[in-house]
Symmetry: D2
Subunit: 139 residues, 4 copies
C-alpha cells in the first residue's frame, strides 16, 4: 500500500449555510491528497497534464460521519492498496484531531484529451511498479 | 416514486483544466434537483433551513460515464423511490441530449443545528405521505 | 449600449457560514450574464473557446449593497456601453425583487492560449459593429 | 502597516477550461490571507464568527496581471495600512516566484447576523490599537 497525507485548513469560502464545510469540497480535498500521493512516488500530476495524460474521475463515493467547520485543520490521507492496471482506485480518510470524520474513494482511468482510455505512459507504470515492489524481496 | 428534473447549464466557472465540468460540481447540481424535488411535494428547503431542520448529506456516490462541457444544457433528475423514514435516499441521473452521462445518489437525515438527528416535523411527514399515497386507492 | 439579463437562483452550495451567498460567486454569476450578452449579439463563448480565442478577466470590481440568500432569484444584467476595441469592459447589476443588491464590472482582452493579446477575429468585430450600429441610421 | 502572507497551492479544482486558475478563486485566497492577518494580531475569525460579529465584504477589486496554473505555489500577502475605524480596508498582492501576478483589495464592516452595522467589540479595537501602536514610541 502506498499512502500520503495532506493538511487542509477549511476556508470560509468552503462553508455553507449550515455553518459546516460544504460536502462537495471533500472531493476537491481528496484530489489534493491524491496529487500528494502521486508526487510521493515520483509522479507529477502537472507533468501528466502537460503530456496530455488525463486522469478523470470515473466513480466517487463519500461517507460523512461528522462535519468539519471553518478553520478546522483536517488531515486527508489518500492510499492505493493494489498496483493499478487499467483503473486506479484511491481510498481516502479525513481526520480532525485524529478522529475519522469522512471516508471515501475514487476510481480513475488514464485518458487522452479526446476522452479515449489509453495505457499509462511507461514511466508511470515504472513509478507504480517501484512503489509497490517489496521493500525486502525474498531471495 | 417521486421525481423532479432541473435544467443546469454548465458555467465556465465549473470547468477545469481538462476542459470538462469538474466532477465535484455534480454534487451541487444534484442538490439543485433535490430542492426541486422537495419543492414539488410542497416542501421548501428554505423554510426547513429557517426552521432549523437541516438535511445534511451522510453519504454520496457518483458514477461518471461521459463528461459535460461548458455551456452544455444538462437535465438532472432526482427521485425518491421509497417513503423516507429516518433516512432519505435520493437517486440522480444527469442527461445530456437524452444520453445518461452521470448517475448518483445521496443519503440524508434530519438534524438540528447541533448535529443531532431529529424526527422530521409533522408537516414534512405529511408531505411525503401524501406524495407516496396511491393515486387511485383501492376500495 | 447592449445588454442582457440572466436569472440566477442561489444554490445552497453558494451560501457560506454567514447564511448568505458567498461573495466570490458573484464573479461566476457575472460570467453567466456576460455569456448571455455575447450570445445575444451572435457570439458564442463556446465557439470562441473552441477557436482558441480566450477572453480572460484583466480586472474585476464589485460593490455589495445587500446580501442574497439561498433560493433567491437574482436578475444579473450585463451591459457594454462602448464598442470594444482592444479591451472589453462589461458592467453588471444584480437585482433581487427589483432592488439593486450588487454592482460590478470586469475588463477583458482577447488572448490566445499562450496568453498573448491578439486581435479578435473578424466575425467578432462584425458582431460588435452590428450590435452598436444605430438602429435608425440618419439618411 | 500590518501584514501577513499565506501560501496557496493551486488545486486542480480551481483551474478552468483555459487551463489557468479561475479568477473568482482569488477572492477566496485573499480571505485565507486576511484570516492569517487577523490571526497575526491576535484576532480569530472563528471566534468573531462564534460571537456573531461578522465581517462581510462590502467592496472588492482585483487586477490580474498574469495567470496562475495548477500546482503553482502562490504567496498571498494581505496588509492593512491605516487603523480601521468603521470600515476595514485590506490590500492584497499575489506573487508567483516573487513576481506580482495579481493585486486587489477588499473593504469590510462589522455587522451582526441581521446585517446591521455594529461597532466592533472592545477586544477587537484593542488588537488593532496594539498592532498599529508605534514600536518605539517617542519620548
Amino acid at each position: 500500500m502506498i499512502t500520503a497525507t495532506a493538511e487542509i485548513r477549511v476556508r470560509y469560502a468552503e462553508t455553507d449555510g449550515m455553518g459546516i464545510a460544504y460536502h462537495a469540497n471533500y472531493l476537491a480535498w481528496f484530489e489534493v491528497a491524491r496529487c500528494a500521493l502521486l508526487e510521493s512516488i515520483g509522479l507529477s500530476y502537472r507533468q501528466l497534464d502537460a503530456d496530455n495524460y488525463l486522469l478523470p474521475v470515473l466513480e466517487a463515493g463519500v461517507r460523512f460521519h461528522a462535519p468539519a467547520r471553518f478553520d478546522d485543520r483536517l488531515h486527508v490521507t489518500a492510499s492505493i492498496t493494489t498496483p493499478p492496471r487499467v483503473r486506479i482506485r484511491v481510498d481516502y480518510e479525513v481526520r480532525l484531531n485524529g478522529r475519522l470524520i469522512t471516508a471515501g474513494h475514487t476510481v480513475h482511468a488514464f485518458m487522452n484529451r479526446d476522452g479515449v482510455a489509453i495505457k499509462p505512459p511507461a514511466h508511470v507504470q515504472e513509478c507504480f511498479a517501484r512503489a509497490f515492489a517489496p521493500a525486502h524481496p525474498a531471495r
